[in-house]
């Protein structure tokens, strides 16, 4: 794990805190900022540091454990697992991509609604594409 790896939440945001934690941790896991065998802070520690209820963090860890990213064991804390990429057949791939496209469209609409120009949104998406490729 890199020294700078951290979670950032916004209590004023409309998005639930559990969702914010899940989304950020997943991004860190996918990008390799948090690697397999890394040990994450305990539910208690992270909840105290963020100032949110224990259940909020526990739910976030449980969601990621169900996705196969984390291993939660009593006494040994929360460990990052080596997660094989899930395989898709043609049908499930289409389904996943449809969900992804819908979410992306919603996100783009949200950015436009906040006053960002199409050019800025396109530039951000292009930089994201570059980051994915590298």
């Amino acid at each position: 794990m890199t020294q700078a790896a951290q979670i950032r939440i916004d209590l004023d945001s409309a998005a639930p805190v559990t969702r914010q934690i899940v989304d950020q941790l997943r991004a860190l896991l996918v990008e390799g900022e948090v690697a397999p065998d890394d040990v994450l802070p305990s539910v208690r520690r992270l909840a105290i540091d963020l100032g949110v209820h224990f259940n909020t963090v526990a739910d976030a860890y449980r969601t990621l454990a169900e996705e196969g990213w984390l291993e939660i064991s009593q006494g040994r804390g929360v460990r990052v697992r080596q997660r094989p990429a899930p395989r898709h057949d043609k049908e499930s791939l289409e389904e996943t991509l449809a969900v992804f496209r819908r979410r992306l469209r919603q996100l783009v609409a949200e950015m436009r609604a906040q006053g960002l120009s199409p050019a800025v949104v396109a530039r951000e998406l292009a930089s994201l594409v570059e980051a994915v490729k590298s």
Partner: protein, 342 residues
């Protein structure tokens, strides 16, 4: 004027000087326990609020002196002891009034929170040896006293006035000999328990931009707790040894010297905490303003932290919204009452 009254007058003055500066020893975005802009403390409004607080606080200090003077004249002990109590209560009220005056300038605290994903465990500074040292000191004294039991006077003083004159005596029993050591043990254990609570149950830094400041502030506070443990260990060890060393009613080491040494050690380790508190850009602490009752008591059942940084004074305080806080309060009461029962 007796030595007791001089000591008490000095105490009132020291308390007033402390309260005079206490509101300034906080994060830069906090003013009288209210979240404000980072530069608010340099504005004329902030200075006016501070001035009004100081006028009120010094007025109460003056009233405490009057009470002290009346206590001396009428030989009324309750008036004598009531001075510092009145003064402390007065400062608390003055601070709460300062908080009310600051509220119109309050800013909505940022809802952004950040937490490191590092799982590295934190410990009290100095490690197990530093933690165990005061207990070892008390244990060594206990062994020494029991080995030299016959060398102890059959009756010796166990309590002294502020001027160092003995005013209570006890026969040589395990309670009178080991009492100061047990009291010392409890006080140090409570102090170190608070240290562990800070390590385990206080936020390591909720605001990303001030995480470094918070880490240094925490470290300085924990160093002070460990050092106070040593100072108290030495103090109680000397008190327990007194009957053996003195063989009379006098204290081998005068009260003023014991108090001065303890205060010097505390001040030496308190100074870095104050210095860090004075640094600009320390932001806010990530706790909601509305959860600070009178600006001093933190009650937030939605915050899992058991200990949080104080908003009035130096160090940490308990989150009374956390059920575990009552266990800490019970421990505190035990430390106060067990030595009394002994």
């Amino acid at each position: 004027m007796t030595a007791d009254s001089i000591v008490m007058a000095v105490c009132v003055l020291l308390i007033a000087v402390l309260f005079n500066w206490l509101p300034l020893w906080r994060r830069s975005s906090l003013w009288f326990a209210v979240t404000v802009g980072p530069d608010f403390r340099n504005t004329p409004d902030a200075r006016r609020i501070l001035r009004q607080y100081r006028i009120e606080m010094w007025t109460v200090a003056l009233a405490a002196y009057v009470l002290l003077w009346l206590g001396i004249r009428r030989e009324a002990i309750w008036m004598f002891a009531g001075g510092p109590l009145l003064q402390s209560l007065g400062a608390i009220v003055a601070f709460a009034r300062g908080r009310s005056r600051t509220r119109p300038y309050a800013q909505h605290p940022s809802g952004t929170r950040a937490a490191s994903l590092s799982s590295a465990s934190e410990h009290l500074p100095g490690g197990p040896a530093a933690i165990a040292a005061p207990y070892a000191m008390l244990a060594a004294v206990a062994i020494f006293l029991h080995v030299n039991w016959q060398g102890l006077p059959s009756r010796f003083p166990v309590h002294w006035g502020i001027n160092g004159t003995a005013d209570r005596w006890a026969a040589r029993t395990w309670r009178s000999v080991d009492g100061p050591l047990l009291a010392g043990f409890l006080v140090i254990a409570l102090l170190q328990a608070m240290g562990y609570m800070i390590v385990a149950a206080s936020p390591r830094g909720r605001m990303l931009e001030t995480a470094d400041w918070t880490a240094r502030f925490r470290r300085a506070n924990l160093r002070m707790i460990v050092a106070m443990g040593w100072a108290l260990g030495a103090l109680f060890a000397v008190l327990a040894l007194n009957p053996y060393l003195s063989r009379g009613d006098a204290l081998v080491i005068p009260v003023w010297l014991m108090l001065a040494a303890t205060l010097a050690v505390t001040a030496g380790f308190l100074w870095p905490v104050i210095r860090i508190s004075q640094e600009p850009g320390s932001g806010s602490d990530g706790t909601p303003d509305e959860c600070w009752k009178l600006g001093q008591i933190y009650y937030n059942p939605n915050d899992p932290a058991l200990m949080v940084e104080k908003r009035f004074g130096v160090g940490y305080t308990i989150n009374f919204g956390n059920r575990a806080s009552w266990l800490l309060v019970a421990l505190l009461l035990m430390v106060v009452f067990v030595p009394m029962l002994l």
